[in-house]
Structure formats: C-alpha cells, structure tokens
C-alpha cells in the first residue's frame, strides 16, 4: 500500500493489490500516509498457498479493476 502511494506521488501510475483479508489494514496504511481515499484493488484470500494456475486466474479476475483505477478502458 505504501509503495503504491509513494509511486503515485512520484508520478508513476500504480495500483496496489491486496487480498480482502487486508482491507482494513490497507485502509489504515493509506490513512497513515495521508491518502485516505487511495483506491486499491482486492482479490479473494488466500494468495500464498495458491499454485501458479490459480495465481494467474486471480490476476485475470482483478485486471479490469486495476485498469479502472488506472483510468483505462478494460
């Protein structure tokens, strides 16, 4: 979350992604950086125990949301 905010502030478009389990900590981190409205994408938990095909599916599923936050057409 911090990396996403710092990249945006450095002028590099960025979208932070976390699992839904980290929604509240992610929002707290955004507030800690003075960017309470920072938009980010969430994917279903977990990630760490998925195999590569499941990870790719997560990435495909979240891509439209990432593009929306970036302001691009999906």
């Amino acid at each position: 979350m911090a990396d996403g905010i710092l990249l945006e502030r450095a002028g590099v478009p960025a979208v932070s992604i976390c699992t839904g389990s980290f929604l509240l900590p992610a929002q707290a981190m955004a507030r800690a950086y003075g960017f309470g409205g920072f938009e980010f994408a969430t994917v279903p938990h977990p990630i760490a125990s998925l195999d590569s095909q499941q990870i790719e599916a997560r990435a495909r599923d979240v891509l439209p949301e990432v593009l929306r936050i970036l302001g691009l057409e999906s």
Binding site: A2, L24, P25, A28, M29, A32, Y33, S52
Partner: protein
C-alpha cells in the same frame, strides 16, 4: 493480620468514583488502551516521569518511518504512565525502547506482520531489586507491578505512539498473550552463571534491559532426569519443532529454572556449553523436513517450502557434505541462556525468538537515577 495493616474505609483516597470511571471510559472510547483500564495522565504526573531522565522529551527513541510515526521520550513517558508504571520505572522503559530499536525487527515492520510477535524484555542488575521486578516464582505470570506495567508500557506505546492497533496496522493473525506485557528479571541470585548483561560485556553491577521479539513461550516440564545430556536433548527437541522452522534457521532463548541451571552447572556445563550442545543436536533429517514440506527454501524470502515448489532452491545443508542433516540453528550464538523462576521444580521455558540471529543481543544499560545529569548520557553498550 496485625492491626496496623488493617485497611479501613478511612484509608481510601478522597475521589469521586464516577469521575474516575468517566476518565477511564474517556481513554477507552479514544482507543488509547490495550483493552484494560489505564491510569489517567496529567501534565504534572507526566513531569514526574520526565524528571527521571536527562533526555530531551522530543528525542526520538524509535523511528517508524513506514508508518509516518515515531516514539519519543515524551510519548514513551505518557504511555508508561498510562500503563501504570511508577515514575521510577521509567529509566527501564527508556532502555527497553532503546533495546528494541537496536534489535531492529520492530523498526523493520515485524509489529505490523501477520506473524503476531511480541517484545520480551529481560532486566538485569540492581534495578530489579530497586523497583521490585520479579525474577522468581511466576516470573512469566501476573502479580508484580513493575513486570506487568513495564511490559505494558511498550505495548501501549506501540498502540498509541506508533498507531499499531489490531485490525488496522497491527495485522497479527492470532498474536500472543505476551502482547499484553512480557517483562522478566533474571534470577541472578540463584543462577550458577554470569547474568545475561555480563555475558555481553557489561559489569554485573550495571543494570540493563535486553529486548527480543518473540513468537511464543513454550513450557518444558522435566523432573525426570539428572543427566545433563538428557535434559539438554529434551530442550533441543522443543527448539527443533518443525512448526517453528519457518525460515532456513531459527533462534531461541532458553529460560532455565534455577534447578535446571544447577543440574547443568553441577556437571560442569556453562551457558556456552549448553548453547553449543543444542546447536549441534538441533537437526532434522532431510526426510523429516520433506514429510512436512520444508525440505527446501524460497529463492527470495528464504522461507522453507517443499522442494517441488516453483520458487524452491536448495538450503545450505543441501550443498554441504552432509545434505541429509539439516541444522535448525545457524550457530551456537543463536541460542541464549538465562535463569529465571523459582528454585522449586524442574520447569523451564523455550522462548522462540524472531530471526536467525547468532549475533549479540541488544543489551542496553539502564541510566542510574542516582548518577549526575551529565553522566547519564551515552547509556548504550
């Protein structure tokens, strides 16, 4: 009870209970507590804490730049007062913060981690007696104000100064009961060995705090043997458990009861001998690690995982001359040994400390309140 110790209603201080409750609820409503009531702090009460140190109230004790927060001397004092510390405990609290900062895992972000660690403080030297720190029976338990509140002062500082509230920036999956408070004193009087701070270069007449980030505290009840190798292997088995083996290697603090320490001492063992024994015997076979999916390590994080995982690379043992013998510890220095608890049974503890370690712990001298102001600065080892 002698008549002079009888408590009567006339001894109770004059205060409006409703006002006391209102103050307690105010702190709770603001989220400034660990869930338990705190002591209201006024400017004049805060001044009593700050008077025990010559340090600038605005001096930063622990920076936490990733959270845009820091713990200063003043914030440490406020939270020590909230925690129920007496002002004369504050030099120990200051040394604890300094030790935690030097220890580095907290400032690297471990207090935000799902791992759910807690800081453990070990206090050595004359300050233990001066402020009533317990080093004997129930040393990890309740009942002693100095132990209870000094440990709690760190937790409240983490919550209030650093913003590490659960469900927010503290993302611990389960945490540990030690997150309420974890502060012990070494039982130097009943130890056959040098105290922890003297093992690492301080004079035994110094007072010191050594902080460690811990995962858990595991109880070892071993009344069955007087053979040092058997007891040492029993302890080693607890340290070696695969559930603790998250990274390639781990570390531990062994807190021996005086009875266990003397068993080793009578056989001619020092603390370094016990550490060396544990280091050499804390091993798993490759097959044991394969059975729990921990026979390799991740390329980037060096966390253990199955050898057939796409990120897996061989561990260091795999490249050694004995690939089927995997050490749990990177050196004898990864096991520290202290003595605490009552001298009444063969009960000890293994503290699972965070990180591979092997280097010296962060031993920080407690500034002596009797010293002149000019002598108090530069109180680290």
């Amino acid at each position: 009870m002698p008549s002079g110790e009888t408590t009567t209603q006339n001894d109770t201080p004059l205060a409006d209970p409703a006002e006391i409750r209102r103050a307690m609820e105010y702190y709770a409503d603001r989220g400034w507590t660990d869930g338990l009531p705190v002591v209201p702090v006024t400017e004049s009460y805060l001044a009593e804490f700050l008077a025990t140190t010559s340090r600038d109230p605005d001096e930063v004790l622990m920076p936490m730049p990733q959270l845009n927060r820091q713990c200063t001397v003043r914030l440490a004092a406020i939270n020590a007062a909230l925690a129920g510390c007496r002002p004369d405990y504050f030099p120990v609290v200051l040394a604890a913060w300094e030790s935690l900062t030097r220890e580095e895992y907290a400032t690297r972000g471990i207090w935000q981690s799902t791992t759910g660690t807690a800081p453990l403080l070990i206090v050595n030297g004359p300050v233990r007696k001066r402020i009533g720190l317990n080093s004997q029976g129930n040393v990890f338990g309740s009942g002693f104000r100095a132990n209870a509140t000094i440990g709690r002062a760190i937790r409240l500082g983490a919550i209030n100064a650093l913003g590490l509230r659960p469900h927010q920036l503290d993302q611990a999956t389960q945490g540990t009961p030690a997150k309420y408070t974890a502060c012990i004193a070494e039982n130097e009087e009943e130890s056959p060995w040098p105290p922890l701070h003297a093992q690492f270069g301080l004079d035994p007449s110094d007072s010191a705090v050594t902080a460690m980030i811990i995962r858990s505290c595991i109880h070892i009840e071993a009344r069955h043997t007087t053979v040092p190798e058997q007891l040492a292997l029993d302890i080693t088995g607890t340290i070696s458990r695969t559930g603790a083996l998250i990274h390639e290697t781990i570390s531990a603090l062994v807190v021996l009861s005086p009875e266990h320490a003397r068993l080793f001492s009578r056989a001619g063992w020092g603390q370094a001998d016990l550490s060396e024994f544990i280091y050499t015997r804390a091993v798993h076979s490759r097959a044991e690690l394969a059975a729990v999916g921990k026979d390799a390590i991740a390329r980037q994080t060096r966390w253990r995982l199955p050898a057939d995982h796409p990120d897996a690379v061989p561990d260091q043992a795999q490249a050694s001359g004995t690939p089927d013998v995997v050490r749990v510890l990177n050196s004898a220095g990864a096991v520290l040994v202290v003595v605490a608890g009552a001298n009444n049974a063969g009960v000890s503890a293994v503290i699972e400390t965070f990180g591979p370690r092997g280097g010296p712990p962060a031993v920080v001298r407690v500034a002596d309140p009797d010293m002149k102001q000019s002598e108090r600065s530069g109180n680290t080892t």
